[in-house]
């Protein structure tokens, strides 16, 4: 029998961890001489108070869904993919190469092509660490981190020496053709006669991200491959004994994970910037780790956690704009969420289990 009911495991523990992380964040804000309540009010107003704020919140949410799913899928196979940042960078390169290759007549054609480019490049960037882990036993955590650094150097080289238009000083690609312009949610709402979220970057990719959540759920819990991934993640010797090939699972899982991280580029590179710039990912790959841990590696949890971090990210931007609290507060909150929901999980879980056990004894006695 489980020590505590399922709802306590799935909802209560992450919620308490989140409250603890937020409480410490509030202390940090107090310590630098600002008011936590004012900060929270500014964040809520800025991120959720208007359709303009929502437009940005949902844009960031879209990024974090992809990177969160990437971490979650790998985590089901007990692989800790910290390379989402680099994979998303390379995904951006894939999108840029596709978008700049042809004078696309319509986004409806450009989008699937760019998605293939993004997923392919992201997956390729995950393939080498995956192969090294599977075949050579080199630790995937460190190799994926190294690949983030190498991706940044590679992108820098490609942007400066290959993709940079003649005469431009900026390390950035040319603008994508008109036909590769994705419809924003504001355009789509306007088509229905609703004025919503003017001049915000959230675009059709948001729906693709939600679709990705459903597909990942189907993959993990409704397919043979998903079963093998979970079995492998639970116990490698048992999976091996059951005839599951570890090399195949590691490589396939990381390819899916990298492809998901790469797909984020549809949102930020094709949907928002419409050209490839340096540091287009802005740390979203790392936030994916917090999102996956917070969301308990379940696609629905990832969606909710991505929404939370979308709010934090947009709210953090507003904080930097209106108060003297720097943007980096978000990195601190992100670190605390990872610490409490990930590493200090037992600190919350052990007392809770004790409470539930004693309650059950009282109920029986």
């Amino acid at each position: 029998m489980d020590k505590m009911p399922k709802w306590a495991d799935v909802i209560l523990t992450p919620l308490i961890s989140l409250v603890l992380a937020m409480a410490i964040s509030a202390l940090v804000i107090l310590a630098i001489g600002e008011s936590p309540t004012e900060a929270l009010k500014t964040m809520v107003d800025g991120a959720l108070g208007s359709s303009y704020g929502w437009g940005f919140t949902l844009y960031y949410t879209t990024n974090f869904i992809f990177t969160g799913l990437a971490v979650a899928v790998a985590y089901h196979a007990s692989l800790f993919n910290i390379g989402g940042e680099g994979q998303a960078m390379l995904g951006g390169l894939g999108v840029a190469l596709v978008a700049l290759a042809l004078p696309w007549p319509h986004w409806g054609i450009a989008l699937p092509a760019a998605m293939i480019g993004a997923a392919l490049f992201g997956a390729l960037w995950a393939l080498i660490p995956a192969w090294l882990q599977a075949k050579r036993g080199s630790h995937i955590v460190i190799t994926t981190i190294m690949f983030n650094f190498i991706a940044a150097a590679l992108l820098n080289y490609v942007l400066v020496n290959i993709l940079r238009p003649v005469g431009s000083m900026d390390p950035a690609s040319a603008r994508f053709p008109e036909g590769a312009h994705l419809p924003s949610l504001a355009d789509m709402a306007a088509g229905l006669g609703i004025e919503w979220g003017k001049n915000t970057p959230v675009n059709i990719t948001f729906f693709i991200a939600m679709l990705a959540c459903v597909l990942v759920w189907l993959l993990i819990w409704r397919t043979r491959l998903g079963y093998e991934i979970r079995a492998f993640g639970r116990s490698e010797p048992a999976a091996r004994y059951a005839g599951i090939n570890p090399v195949r699972i590691i490589v396939i899982t990381m390819l899916i994970s990298g492809a998901l991280a790469g797909l984020m580029a549809i949102n930020n590179v094709m949907g928002e910037a419409e050209r490839l710039v340096l540091n287009a990912v802005e740390g979203a790959g790392f936030i994916g780790i917090a999102v996956a841990l917070m969301g308990r590696n379940h696609p629905f949890g990832v969606f909710l956690a991505a929404l939370l971090f979308g709010f934090l990210y947009q709210g953090g931007g507003e904080l930097a704009l209106w108060t003297s609290i720097p943007r980096e507060l978000i990195v601190v909150i992100q670190a605390l969420v990872i610490l409490f929901t990930g590493a200090l999980d037992n600190m919350v879980r052990m007392p809770l289990e004790r409470i539930f056990l004693s309650m059950r004894k009282l109920g029986n006695g």
Partner: protein, 321 residues
């Protein structure tokens, strides 16, 4: 390439390998005791920030060094709490510590100094000065050995010598003392140490704290010895490179010296020749900068020999009841 150039590159390699060596030894203590530590990066970063801030405010690099050790140790204790006391995932804890350091240093830096995350430049007495060893000037004219002594061995800050002394010291502690024997045992088979009546928790905490002290030295050297002040993200992956060097050195202190020297040399060459001209092709600077990271991947891939980590590494110890 002439002799003085080689001496200059080697000299720069010694400077650049010092933080790697200290961090590598920090990881060695931690991992030999069975606690994985990918938070070396964050601890170094935090130490760099606290040491630069205190050195600037007080004008004393020694107080800065203490503050650096304190900053790194605080994060070490968090890591110990998460991975030893609460038996959490050591990798996740390390990742959290890296982000915590990355966010807190900039947050506090902007708030305190208002320079966009930097600390004000340290001048004169705020930094560790270079030590000229005795007779360095008089011996300079001796052919071959003179310049090696005067330019390569002499003229570093005290922390460089401390780092190099830490290598034999670590070897002695690890292989010649009772504590070292227990430390190695707890990383291989904690149950046996427990059966012998020695506390696994205490041993691992001591190891994690030693790692904090060494990361503190590494960070302080980065900010008050190698450069003059703290810059955002100034560790630039050195913590991870140190981990790769640790694996390359197969968790042995003397080999760690060679492994970190290799990385220091690579960085020194990349700094000296941003665009390396090999006659046929010119290697672009981006590639040269990425070289340490690429080498890390190659080393991790085991193409340079098989490395077997401490057997109980990464596993929290649950006492039998």
């Amino acid at each position: 390439m002439d002799f003085p150039t080689i001496i200059q590159i080697l000299d720069s390699a010694v400077r650049l390998m010092t933080p790697l060596l200290l961090a590598c030894l920090a990881g060695l203590y931690s991992e030999r005791s069975g606690v994985f530590d990918i938070g070396l990066e964050g601890k170094m970063l935090m130490a760099a920030f606290t040491s630069a801030s205190i050195a600037f405010v007080t004008g004393s690099p020694w107080l800065g060094l203490l503050a650096g050790i304190g900053g790194a140790m605080l994060l070490s204790l968090i890591h110990g709490l998460a991975s030893i006391t609460f038996r959490g995932n050591q990798l996740i804890s390390g990742v959290a510590i890296n982000f915590l350091a990355s966010g807190m240093t900039v947050l506090l830096g902007i708030k305190i100094f208002g320079l966009g995350g930097r600390t004000p430049a340290l001048t004169g007495g705020g930094r560790f000065g270079e030590i000229t060893l005795p007779f360095a000037e008089t011996l300079r004219d001796v052919p071959l050995l003179g310049p090696i002594y005067a330019d390569l061995i002499s003229g570093h800050t005290i922390l460089v010598y401390v780092a190099f002394l830490c290598v034999p010291l670590t070897w002695w502690v690890l292989f010649r003392t009772r504590f070292g024997l227990r430390l190695r045992a707890v990383g291989e088979n904690p149950a046996s140490v427990d059966t012998a009546g020695v506390s696994v928790t205490r041993l691992r905490f001591v190891a994690v704290i030693i790692a904090g002290v060494l990361c503190g030295l590494a960070g302080a050297y980065l900010a008050t010895g190698l450069s003059a002040g703290f810059v955002k993200e100034m560790t630039a992956g050195r913590g991870f490179i140190a981990l790769a060097a640790l694996i390359f050195a197969k968790w042995r202190p003397v080999s760690a010296l060679g492994a970190t020297f290799l990385f220091g040399l690579l960085e020194a060459i990349a700094n000296r020749y941003p665009n390396l001209d090999l006659g046929v092709i010119t290697i672009p600077s981006m590639f040269m900068n990425a070289l340490p990271y690429i080498l890390t991947v190659i080393i991790l891939a085991g193409f340079v020999g098989r490395a077997i980590p401490p057997r109980a590494g990464g596993e929290p110890y649950v006492k039998e009841r």
